[in-house]
Symmetry: D2
Subunit: 166 residues, 4 copies
């Protein structure tokens, strides 16, 4: 089975977040990884467009009860009708999680992924989390400085062979 | 976006159920529909194998917290960690639902699909549901007599063009 | 911890269903059992009213994202925002399940409870489920003929002492 | 319906967190508010014990498929079998959210509550969240300095009359 990488990020994001997400999508597709995302606008739409541009497979996991508001670049849509509880599904479906940009929904995905614990969590321009005394947490997320680095960190989970792609 | 068809059925099923599921998988793949299934053994594995044989896309939606027990023929795995509540996700992700064989889990998917209400539910060798007086329900499932008929009924939802496939 | 009994049933139900649900609610409350229900109208509202009349504890588990549409007789409301996937929560929270009346949602709860497998499922005026050949299922639900019998079957799970009530 | 307040916090917490949670539980119970918590150990058990000491109603929402590991001080147990997706249910069931102590699970509840957006989120000794540049977020959580203040901020949502309690 190909590696599955969740790419999380806000509906309302910066232009930098969008271009980062697009590049992450292309790179993951070219590496033969499947991308799981929230399937909406902003970072979610940008990563889906990137995956499509890279001829990859990208699945959107929607919170509502319909696929009509899903990004047109998705390969398939999972309609959960679970609201934001669907964030847990995105996180549990992933071999690695990349969070691009900051929002409360994105933070919930970072937190759920760290709570799960057995999956690398890489952030790119996302929010900063400190302990109650304002100090960095001992085992926190890995902060990437570029899309290329974020993807490399995610792909380091295990070798992916291009022929693994569908 | 291609048509998405859920194919539901038991882990423990008859040989007929398995061959029906395999044929349904091939036919849906050849028609360019995406298949959503539970991703496990029995009917779930047979439909996944059929879709793979037809060069289609099949997504397994697992109840546990890992993809390690998923059918090897899946294109991608959604790991929900939601237990049997994941049955609702399979049903809500579908433009049409085909249930092959009978079990309590399969019955829950039929019931949830009818509860949702705006999606055709087609059964092939599944359980029979009667009202409290033992009479057929006025608006119940559509009983198919063959894989071909089940698929034709599902595809009747809306036209699918082969070029819609990824 | 007191025994917890799920009482399931349709929004749209008969007058008999309502009076049965009300009586089941009173009897369960008097026996010191906690009642879990869907928290809406119809059977759900009737059982909540019965529990309140019996000075018991009844928790409504709602599918939407608000408690504003919950029955006023509930002791507390769990707002799931999970749609019909919440039916699984009602079932998993119960030491015994009583289904009163018939509907697709109620059938999904019966099916999920039987799929769970380690909990008695008692029906009172609910739908009838047969195998693919039209024969009764070997290990199916227990059909009660009165609210009193339904409650007695549910309470048979394990002894409940009145002092267990909160 | 009485006010419902979610009290979130880690399994593994400090002694200060425990005593804070216990005091929050007593104060909420005395004010007639229903408490929703995760139903486990640590902060969850401490707040349940506090509510019981205050003769209040406290509901535990468990992630697993059984109530056997639930705190003995709970009034009732909701068994979700949804894993950490149950955090969303705790948050959506609340008129106000109090987070005591820091952990990834607790952070996910804070984030989900802020994502929901229409509910006050009060923290007491929890983690600190900054934007990508290390600055405080414009609309973030309210930091309380004592259990009394945390409870007062939660109860400020709307008047609670003692006679509203069950």
């Amino acid at each position: 089975m190909p590696l599955q990488v969740a790419v999380c990020g806000p509906r309302h994001c910066t232009e930098d977040d969008k271009s980062h997400a697009y590049e992450v999508g292309i790179l993951l597709a070219q590496a033969g990884a499947i991308v799981i995302c929230g399937g909406g606008t902003g970072v979610m739409a940008a990563v889906a467009a990137g995956v499509r541009a890279g001829n990859g497979l990208v699945i959107g996991v929607r919170p509502g009860n319909t696929a009509t508001d899903a990004s047109p670049d998705l390969s398939a849509v999972i309609v959960t009708n679970l609201g934001e509880a669907r964030n847990a599904i995105i996180v549990w479906s992933a071999d690695a999680v990349i969070a691009i940009g900051g929002s409360w929904g994105t933070l919930s995905e970072i937190a759920l992924a760290k709570r799960r614990g057995d999956v690398p969590v890489i952030t790119l321009g996302s929010w900063i989390i400190l302990d109650r005394d304002g100090n960095p947490l001992p085992e926190s997320v890995t902060v990437a400085s570029s899309p290329r680095q974020a993807v490399d960190l995610a792909l380091a989970v295990r070798p992916v062979r291009p022929q693994e792609t569908i």
